[in-house]
Symmetry: C2
Subunit: 198 residues, 2 copies
DNA sequence: CACGTAAGCGGAATCGATTCCGTTTACGGG
DNA sequence: CCCGTAAACGGAATCGATTCCGCTTACGTG
């Protein structure tokens, strides 16, 4: 009786498990920072964290899940800024301006984290969670800025242009500069937020 | 003397090599048609083609290369139609209409071949060759239809929305129907081809 | 037709991701 | 403090992709 509301239906993480989670994230963070996600194997991480490979998988599901956990750390700031930060990323100004800021900010993240994002993409959490957040964010802005386009679809379309694999193709294979990509985004936002033909 | 112009600087493919190429493509085509690219391993293909795995790799480079070769077969028609077929896919009508037709046609290809396209995406040939073709095609249409947007960038942006991984996300995860995707594409094309604010 | 050689061959070996399973450990209850 | 049990461990086993390498064969030449 007098029980507290049952959040945390899961029996709470065991102390050793929590310690290992930290170790793994720390080790993985260091290794990835040193040589890039693509040259770090799961066994490398396990060894550096003094942990068996099984522990990596129990904790993070798979390689994509680990990449996602790493990414989440380094991206939370951006997400918070979207929701509750100061303009132009956060609320308080016209949606069109926030769309521009979102593009610039996301492209900036991509510049640093695109390879990690590519590695995290197959993760279930990624697809369901973060992408959903960005998609919702864009949809809400678009509802205000482009009454003549389907906001739900258009949000996804814009997200496609911020796909990390696509970004790497643009930057490395096709030789676009970051500035050109920002300019391209801005042009597109202007085009879809312009008043349609009278 | 009196030599013919030296195209085919490569000494021509050996007879047994050509035979094996056919065998492999045939076997792979059957297996993929039966159970989908994702449940077919390189060894499955090698066995079905009565060939060593080494032969697969010498001929196609890697899994993505094999997927690409398979795809190319099943896609050549579409590519030809773009360049020399009858309208609305081929030339002869206003660019805006051809942009709509391109989207509908490509989405139709995706409906059938998206998983194969995902598998082919890492291939060097894919990135350089076919994507380049589509990108060029779109660029040319956009030059005519959207004088106020950078055609080169916009072509790539539109291609991002036809990315096979993105398409699978829209269809399977987010539950969009093919019709909705076509409608979304059409709306976007209309938006960017509309006369900008007077 | 016999020969030389480069191209092609097959399948064993290697490498990394992921799964399995017998053993160890944290920790709530007695 | 002692026990029982579920959670967590670690690393061996498995699986598929890719590489390696010693052997075979097509085919241009004499």
């Amino acid at each position: 009786m007098f029980e507290l509301p049952q959040f945390q239906e899961q029996p709470r993480e065991r102390a050793d498990a929590a310690r290992n989670r930290e170790r793994i994230l720390a080790a993985a963070g260091t290794l990835v920072a040193e040589s890039g996600i693509d040259s770090v194997s799961m066994e490398d991480v396990a060894k550096a964290a003094c942990v068996g490979t099984g522990t990596l998988y129990r904790r993070f599901g798979d390689r994509a899940g680990l990449a996602f956990a790493l990414l989440d750390d380094q991206t939370k700031d951006f997400q918070d800024a979207l929701i509750a930060g100061p303009p132009p990323l956060g609320p308080g100004i016209p949606a069109a301006q926030r769309l521009h800021a979102f593009g610039a900010g996301f492209l900036d993240l991509l510049e640093t984290h695109a390879p990690l994002m590519v590695a995290a993409a197959p993760s279930v959490k990624e697809s369901a969670g973060v992408l959903g957040l960005y998609s919702t964010h864009l949809r809400i802005l678009l509802e205000e800025a482009t009454p003549h386009l389907d906001p739900r679809y258009t949000a996804e379309a814009l997200l496609a242009m911020l796909d990390p694999a696509y970004h790497l193709r643009m930057r490395r294979l096709l030789g676009y500069s970051l500035d050109q990509l920002v300019a391209g985004w801005d042009g597109l936002i202007d085009a879809i937020t312009a008043t349609p033909r009278p």
